[in-house]
């Protein structure tokens, strides 16, 4: 188990958190104009890199807020975490 740095609460144990998958998946701006393939990609397709990955996590057993993290999927190490739309990041 590792410590994850919640941007509001500080470092807490992994069991307090919930994983939310890839970060920055935006709802389509013009949904009516999407092709079936584009809908499939919005609903089902996510990146799956071996290495650095921008993700969403929720501090579900703490402040219950969502935040963004950058994590290495090979080492599992968190490289940074940040509040939504926050420029500065903290490790």
């Amino acid at each position: 188990m590792q410590l994850i740095h919640c941007p509001w609460c500080g470092p807490r144990e992994e069991v307090e958190f919930h994983y939310g998958g890839q970060a920055d998946i935006a709802y389509p701006e013009r949904p009516a104009e999407l092709s079936d393939q584009e809908w499939a990609e919005y609903v089902f397709y996510r990146d799956n890199p071996k290495g650095t990955f921008a993700e969403r996590w929720s501090h579900s057993a703490g402040c219950r807020r969502w935040f963004n993290a950058v994590r290495d999927t090979h080492t599992y190490r968190f490289l940074s975490t940040a509040k939504p739309r926050q420029k500065e990041v903290r490790v």
Binding site: D36, W39, F44, Y45, Y76
Partner: protein, 411 residues
């Protein structure tokens, strides 16, 4: 299971010869990327069913050293949907004759599987799956708690535990096989037929001409190919990224562990979806246990300890005799999970590249079945009817095969 010999006494001796370790040739008719169970089985049925022997199996590590070496060896076909039942039952029938086909012991032991139900809704879902299985000609029964206790006496069927056993589905033909022996059996067979098993050979890229791939770049040089077959399980996304192809795959660590060797206490396989544990006893006597996947994406072949802790808590509640067993070792395989918990098999945007991925937590049981069907797909350039429902296009058409319920391990 009636076992008269001491545990491990019926294990065969290791053979003194396994397979050649050849240098890669310049060209092959078929290059299979991934030397695990699926890659080896595909090579076997290319030879056996289609007479195609100019084949290389490329393995970045050692043969069958990835998920094939890390799985929990369960074999069953009690899936809900017709599409899944067809491929997994085809596979189970092949398992039943595989030892003769390979001429090699694989210790296939049909000791049955119990899938426990803990709530009223579990019971309804389970009975529904039993009826669906029967309609597909798959052996399945619904058992009450007393019958569960009769088949597996060490299960705690008391009514006052947190997740009381309300009953179970039972597939008597389900079983386990010795995973390493399965890989070695396939490996020896295809090696004898002239297939090149090339280890320490990581694919680092592809050479492309229009919508065809003409060769694979590897750490042991460039290799030309007529057809490329991707059988890389959790690392399929890494390969597809090199081709500029996206697929709805997410790679997660799936943890498992074994206890020290124990006398035979556990005569069947027990799975519980609700409490995230599944258990069988290996031929030598280890209790082999698995949990659900860790929630986050990972390629590290290890997972978080709290998953094991939760799994052990569930296991000890269901099997109080396990409380004194010692953990011998734990590990994780990297499983490739799809949104509908079903595999992706068939065409890619490149006309001579075919993919076999997305088996999630259930790839081992499919080994001979997918080998058979994927070899057919490669030989004919069209998916075998059993894998046709599992094309990448189903995420666009919406014809999903949603098997989260029967996959039985939390995806």
């Amino acid at each position: 299971m009636t076992q008269t010999n001491p545990p491990g006494a019926d294990l065969p001796e290791h053979p003194d010869f396994l397979w050649r370790n050849p240098e890669p040739k310049k060209n092959y008719d078929v290059v299979i990327v991934g030397g695990g169970g699926h890659g080896l089985a595909t090579a076997h049925y290319l030879v056996r069913n289609h007479g195609i022997t100019n084949v290389a199996v490329l393995e970045k590590g050692w043969l069958a050293g990835g998920n094939m070496a890390r799985n929990t060896t369960l074999i069953r076909s009690n899936y809900l949907w017709d599409e899944s039942a067809a491929i997994y039952e085809h596979s189970l029938k092949l398992w039943e004759g595989l030892e003769d086909d390979l001429g090699y012991p694989i210790l296939f032991s049909q000791r049955g599987v119990l899938n426990l139900a803990h709530t009223e809704q579990d019971v309804r879902d389970s009975v529904r799956r039993v009826e669906a299985n029967k309609l597909n000609g798959i052996d399945a029964e619904w058992l009450g708690p007393d019958e569960v206790k009769r088949i597996c006496p060490i299960i705690n069927t008391a009514e006052d535990i947190r997740y009381p056993v309300q009953g179970a589905t039972y597939q008597p033909r389900a079983g386990i096989a010795k995973h390493d022996y399965v890989a070695w059996g396939f490996g020896r067979r295809v090696d004898e037929a002239g297939v090149d098993l090339i280890q320490d050979c990581e694919v680092t890229g592809f050479t492309v001409d229009g919508d065809r791939v003409t060769g694979v770049r590897t750490t042991r040089g460039d290799i030309g190919c007529g057809t490329v077959a991707l059988c890389a399980a959790g690392h399929t996304s890494v390969l597809l990224d090199q081709l500029g192809v996206r697929a709805p795959l997410q790679s997660h660590p799936l943890q498992a562990l074994v206890s020290e060797l124990l006398e035979p206490v556990h005569p069947t396989i027990v799975m519980s979806n609700a409490v995230h544990v599944y258990v069988s006893q290996a031929h030598k006597g280890e209790l082999v246990m698995g949990a659900g996947v860790d929630s986050y994406n990972g390629y590290g072949q290890r997972g978080a300890f709290h998953i094991i802790e939760r799994q052990m808590a569930a296991a000890v509640e269901l099997f109080p005799v396990f409380a004194r067993a010692h953990l011998l070792r734990s590990w994780a395989g990297i499983v490739d999970v799809t949104p509908d918990a079903s595999p992706i098999v068939g065409h890619t945007p490149y006309e001579n590249v075919f993919v076999n991925a997305g088996w999630g937590t259930g790839g081992f049981k499919a080994t001979p079945g997918i080998g058979w069907c994927f070899a057919h797909t490669l030989a004919h350039g069209e998916p075998h009817p059993y894998v046709a429902p599992f094309g990448l296009d189903r995420f666009t058409t919406g014809a999903l095969v949603d098997e989260h319920g029967a996959a039985a391990v939390a995806h």
